[in-house]
Amino acid sequence: MSADTVPVTGWGRTAPTTARLIRPRTYEEAVAAVRDCGARGGIPRGLGRAYGDAAQNAGGAVLDMTGLDRIHAIDADGGTVRCDAGVSLHRLMEVLLPLGWFVPVTPGTRYVTVGGAIGADIHGKNHHVSGSFARHVLSLELLTADGGIRTVAHGTPLFDATAGGMGLTGVILTATVRLQPVETSLMTVDTERAGDLDDLMARLTAGDHRYRYSVAWIDLLARGAATGRAVVTRGDHAPLDALPAGTRARREPLAFRTSRLPPAPSFVPGGLLNRTTVGIFNELWYRKAPRARTGQLQRISTFFHPLDGVPHWNRVYGRGGFVQYQFVVGHGQEDALRRIVRRISARRCPSFLAVLKRFGDADAGWLSFPAPGWTLALDIPADLPGLGTFLDELDEEVASAGGRVYLAKDSRLRPELLAAMYPRLADFRALRAELDPRGVFVSDLARRLHL
């Protein structure tokens, strides 16, 4: 078990703090690390894809769980896997796809761990069908503050506190996850353009139920009549008979293929992504997309994880880093969504990674983010003048529409708004106070938002 005192940030590379980074290689080492983490506590960390300060712990311990990465058992008939929390979704895909199984939920990157996926209760393009990740977790083993290991079954209060609990109930050691059967490793994808926000919402409302996966890239720099124009991509796992005969894809239908470009350089000057460059990118991206195309075959990596093709893409924002803002507002709150999109567009926030999605039913996690309605996610360079105040104003809109922002992406929310956004917060605090009276598990996020 190694331990180094190092600066730690989230994927957005803002607000670095220093912690002892401990990398347990066995459960015993993990138990010892939790017992010895000292006055400033500890927090588990996976692959560091949370954008903000969720997996940081200033002056304390950060438990890098990626050293615990064994896949224990695969039930290839029933479609479940039991693995360590440090296993990445990438690894699961490598192992499971050839057996005809896929992860039940994948976010926009496959470089997240199973533990992180549960801790943030992540969602994907299939949320309207499949819900969030924790829906598919049958049980998990949780290392709690007393140093004990508990088996936590789906549906129990501790499970619901842990799903979306941002690692604050304990360290997830293993999980049993129900899988999605697939015939091939390819996707059939339909693409269409939407000319403005209302057109986009109408298309998503009318057609989402026909697809397992659906998402829209939205051009937040477009103004006037084009405000909210978007490219909708929706798809399903391709059935075997959709692959053309005689091709390599048909001969090896379950091969998991990815491609990676060289990583972004470690130093990129700030300001590269500005209104001009992002405006040009967005214009090209929109024009490049077909007005309507159906049945295109794409790799899983192309459809779900385009950004994983550029390792360390987060560096392109330069030293100042970036802020990711994601919120959800319920069905019936379309006006709030329109107002927010208009404000972002009028403000000319240079965002090239903005996506809009329609969520389905919520799951039971107390701090789980998804709720039925509309979710918008966007990246913004952190050094944009006045950004802090602007996002505060958006928070007010979101909160007054009964919506919430996503903690796994947050790095700047005003703590006073949290309880309104997460009505089960009081239950969460009460459970933590009982389970972890000394406050062993703590993160910068928890300190900032008084979780």
């Binding site: 607000a15 703090t17 912690a19 002056g59 952190a382 050094d383 802090g388 105040t389 790095s411 900032r448």
Partner: protein, 251 residues
Amino acid sequence: MKDAFGTPQSLLVLGGTSEIALATARRLIARRTRTVWLAGRPSPALDGAAERLRGLGAEVHTVDFDALDPDSHESALGKVFAEGDVDMVLLAFGILGDQAHDERDPAGAVRVAQTNYTGAVSAGLITARSLQAQGHGSLVVLSSVAGERARRANFIYGSSKAGLDAFAQGLGDALHGTGVHVMVVRPGFVRSRMTADLEEAPFATTPEAVASAIELGLRRRSETVWVPGALRVVMSALRHLPRAVFRRLPV
């Protein structure tokens, strides 16, 4: 904790009646700051400052702190950190002295040096250690352009700020990689009580402008901030002037 924009939730001001510090506190309270500690010698002015900040919605405490009594710093500042994390320490105390008078009365000059330099070394080291233990935080040190090159007209004050500035830079390097950020702020002539009797110098600025520059510096995690920014170039030129020329300048 600071947010993604470097805005602190808790602030400790050393020199709780400093106009620059209070302007900074007002600005930060308008953003995220909810807890403020004003450290200074007990006085109606300190209580009044605390009351005004409370009016803005912050929870404000005052702490007895005397820069000239380094022996008391440990316990006075230790109490603050024992209450919880301090995201930002603003080292803002300092006195201008009276150059002409202090040249005749070395005891007065020593008081300037002890307040501005010795007191700051003590308080700076003590707060830096606490920040390092919590693994995060910014130590913002109010230096001055006067420390960049000592002038005939105020070299006693200038030399104390030169010492403070060098100390803070070195401290910043020592703390690099510990999660603690040290920022040296070098304002030019600031229109305030402290300078009310002086003739205004070129590039004069205001406490509010310095506060705004500090907020920006926090966001950028800057190590040095000049206010106004043009002074960086001006002082760089002045620093390289030959002594014989510099001495004759009407500054």
